[in-house]
Symmetry: C2
Subunit: 175 residues, 2 copies
């Protein structure tokens, strides 16, 4: 807990004015109780744990939601997908290019509105999605272990409240 001085090892060192920082403990100040900070850490930890689990597969968690949304909504447009996934549509272009290059999705021009694409999974995409879904289920099971089923539900509900209640980019007043 409280540090033995690493200075004392040597013979008498000079009385250096070392603050706690250099030793073990770091003072987080108000950070220690702030939601935002912990949200970042938790999201990060969850993301990395999932990525580690899905390591055998060639896709990272960011792509997973994309694949799932396409699989569940065949024919969806890029704009609708980007809204559902809460990512800017411009972020989607390179992701979809990559997924198409790997033959996991197909992009067909909409015959009625030739501006849009209609996205859908290829059989290979379905298979990859199934594998990732399995990884995600295990991941969620791990989270359930950590949280317990009852806490988990409340936790999810609170997350939803935050998501709905905080003004996202254009939210609050559409222009």
């Amino acid at each position: 807990m409280v540090q033995p001085n690493l200075a004392a090892r040597e013979t008498e060192r000079r009385d250096v004015p070392v603050p706690a920082a250099t030793a073990g403990a770091v003072d987080f100040g108000p950070l220690a109780n702030w939601i935002g900070f912990h949200l970042r850490l938790a999201q990060n930890a969850s993301f990395q744990a999932f990525a580690r689990r899905a390591n055998g597969i060639d896709l990272r968690p960011g792509r997973f939601a994309t694949l799932m949304l396409i699989g569940r909504n065949p024919g969806i447009s890029q704009t609708a997908l980007s809204r559902a996934n809460r990512r800017d549509k411009s972020s989607l272009t390179p992701v979809l290019n990559d997924l198409a290059r790997r033959k996991l999705i197909k992009r067909a021009r909409d015959t009625e509105d030739r501006r849009s694409y209609r996205l859908m999974l290829t059989p290979a995409g379905e298979a990859t999605l199934a594998k990732l879904t399995e990884c995600a289920k295990e991941h969620e099971r791990r989270l359930d272990e950590l949280l317990g089923a009852r806490d988990r539900d409340r936790f999810l509900e609170v997350l939803r409240r935050l998501i709905a209640g905080l003004p996202a980019r254009g939210n609050g007043h559409s222009r």
Copy 2:
């Protein structure tokens, strides 16, 4: 509940053989109940809400934690800081360069170990930190409104459990 103003206004388009995707509702499948997905959305929303609030100031939320940790731990080294902030040390270099360029922090070589720097705030850095802290307090108050004080505490506790329980990069045994 959460019915963002999608383009649902003009739902009655022509009699296109449209799957649900193109119209208003998107099927999220299992995503709708997965913690990881909602963590990402919540973190994102919180981050953006904070950034919006701190708009007058020239610093974004990423820098805020850095400044706070330096302010609370004067003389801290870059490595210790990166560990506390859970960011790779290489990410820190450009951030600190920028903060130093703006005269918000000072970097002094440690006289006893000339490899390390000892970081501390300048008076301008203290002032900026104070302003940001005020923004963060308001932000947290907003979160409290959304969550209620009781839920908030449980929520924070659950976040901590996640952070501690999920294997971070090198985690499992820190030295």
